[in-house]
């Protein structure tokens, strides 16, 4: 072990470590970390994206707590965000970091999702890793949707109004959406208050244990090796120790990710629009956040083909089918025995990814 080759004299720091080790078993942890190895190959770069997503989540957690110090939901929602953004020292920076990091987290998660998909890391025994990951992504989308309303400016107001209109179109659900989610026939104080509860209490309460489960599975099964690498004879496969080598690389990635957040937040601070006013017309060119753009465009496109109310249902059906397909991938392609099934998973996954990218670009072009 690395420590035994450099026998250090008993420094004060070392005796403190020994004291803690005797009581907490830190050496076991160090031994575990020293034992753990990470595969090293041409596609190793994609291993970082789960960790990068995690870093952005930590930034969300910390900046979210800071915003919570001054944010007031309900009637004063807009005014409190105005104060944070324009009156408070560095409030603009904290809020910008929260918004930028949210967007970067969704981006990193999509990269993570599709890299896991194409590296076939969902195969046995990692099915629950895939499913818990999809669950985490869905929760992140809900975080994004609920957080977007909280400033209560014009964009937030109309985005939420439209966003809630869509599930409200499903027959039999519209009443429930009004009663339970919107808190009334119009987006208003009651909506902000409950979105706030959702955003800062309910979602974190569900998210954190699921994240813990996801990370536990990553520890349990280790990094998956892509099929091309797995076919190589064992002697040709390379690994590096998790500690300190991979962790050092992870840390470097985190530092880069953190720098990206701070640079974007500083140079492109998030704006605050006019206070939400139900009587003002919706701002021109209003559109959802980029990570909802593909769904938005899908509804628009299908709406042209299937006019009227049926279009929304068909669009949502297509979106639901794509989601279901992603969830079913570990069942379609459970291990390396079935060549045809592996192709279905890969091409289906590619279709979903390309569909999302095309619809997103199309959506922006059509604004």
């Amino acid at each position: 072990m690395a420590t035994s080759s450099y026998p250090a004299p008993e420094s004060p720091l070392r005796s403190v470590y020994r004291w803690a080790d005797e009581r907490l078993g830190l050496a076991d942890l160090a031994a575990f970390a020293a034992h753990k190895r990470v595969p090293q190959h041409a596609h190793s770069f994609w291993y970082y994206w789960g960790g990068i997503s995690l870093l952005f989540f930590v930034v969300q957690l910390l900046t979210g707590i800071l915003l919570l110090v001054y944010y007031r939901p309900g009637k004063e929602a807009f005014e409190s965000v105005r104060q944070i953004t324009y009156d408070n020292d560095f409030g603009w920076l904290i809020r910008s970091a929260h918004s930028w990091s949210a967007n970067l987290m969704v981006f990193a998660l999509f990269v993570h999702l599709f890299s896991v998909l194409f590296m076939k890391a969902y195969r046995k025994p990692r099915e629950f890793g895939w499913w818990s990951g999809l669950g985490l992504l869905s929760l992140v989308m809900l975080f994004g949707f609920s957080g977007y309303l909280l400033p209560m400016d014009q964009l937030a107001y109309f985005a939420t109004k439209v966003g809630l209109q869509i599930p409200g179109m499903i027959p039999g659900i519209s009443g429930m959406v009004e009663d339970l989610v919107r808190g009334g026939p119009q987006v208003g104080e009651a909506t902000v208050q409950r979105f706030f509860a959702l955003h800062v209490v309910i979602l974190p309460l569900v998210f954190l244990p699921l994240l813990g489960f996801h990370l536990y599975l990553v520890q349990k099964h280790g990094n998956a090796v892509p099929p091309g690498e797995a076919r190589k004879p064992a002697a040709e496969r390379r690994t590096i120790p998790f500690f300190p080598n991979f962790l050092a690389q992870d840390l470097a990635m985190w530092l880069i990710a953190l720098n990206v957040v701070t640079i974007l937040a500083t140079l492109f601070p998030w704006d605050l629009g006019k206070m939400a006013d139900p009587l003002a017309p919706a701002p021109l060119g209003i559109h959802p956040e980029w990570y909802f753009m593909s769904q938005f465009q899908l509804l628009k496109v299908v709406g042209v083909i299937v006019p009227g109310f049926g279009g929304e249902i068909a669009g949502m059906g297509l979106f639901g089918a794509a989601t279901l397909f992603l969830a079913a991938i570990p069942l379609i392609d459970p291990d390396s025995r079935f060549g045809r099934r592996a192709k279905i998973a890969a091409w289906g996954g590619a279709l979903v990814m390309i569909g999302m990218i095309v619809l997103t670009v199309w959506g922006y072009a059509a604004l």
């Binding site: 800071l66 408070n88 020292d89 560095f90 409030g91 920076l93 904290i94």
Partner: protein, 159 residues
């Protein structure tokens, strides 16, 4: 630097200088980084406190006629952000004190019947004309303000 890596047997296997320098440098960079992250966060959290300290830096307060106490009574007011007390004594004289007990910060009250200013928290008692300690745990007298009476209103300022 280069001697350390080439001189082989001449010096101990690992010269501490290079490693120490690198570690100290990394530590300094890490500290600078933490400082760059921590400074905005500190300022962000401290904003209300800083603002109220600025508000507290006033030098005088005018009290309008309708708020003035009758002879033998006192009125409480804010001097900046701190509670203060204006006493109109029965003999017609005016005094004003910082109304925060010098012991542990409770707000004191005027007790004309006992001819004192009293802090109920731990029984600190102050002279109602000078603010000097009469009894109890307070370490210092109450801070007195300068009081000027001019046509109807009263101006209280730092002594």
């Amino acid at each position: 630097m280069s001697e350390a890596s080439t001189s082989g047997n001449a010096v101990p296997l690992e010269t501490p200088r290079r490693r120490d320098l690198l570690q100290a440098g990394m530590g300094a960079v890490a500290l600078a980084y933490l400082g760059a992250l921590g400074y905005p966060v500190y300022r962000y959290l401290a904003t209300p406190a800083v603002r109220s300290r600025l508000e507290g830096q006033i030098t005088s307060v005018a009290i309008a006629e309708k708020s003035l106490p009758a002879a033998g009574a006192a009125t409480m007011f804010l001097f900046g952000t701190r509670p203060a007390m204006l006493i109109h004594h029965a003999d017609g004289s005016w005094v004003a004190f910082d109304a925060v007990c010098t012991h542990l910060g409770c707000t004191v009250g005027f007790e004309p019947q006992n001819k004192r200013i009293f802090c109920p928290c731990h029984g600190g008692a102050y002279d109602m004309k000078t603010g000097d300690i009469l009894g109890g745990p307070p370490p210092r007298a109450l801070k007195a303000f300068k009081v000027e009476v001019s046509d109807g209103h009263v101006i209280v300022s730092r002594a």
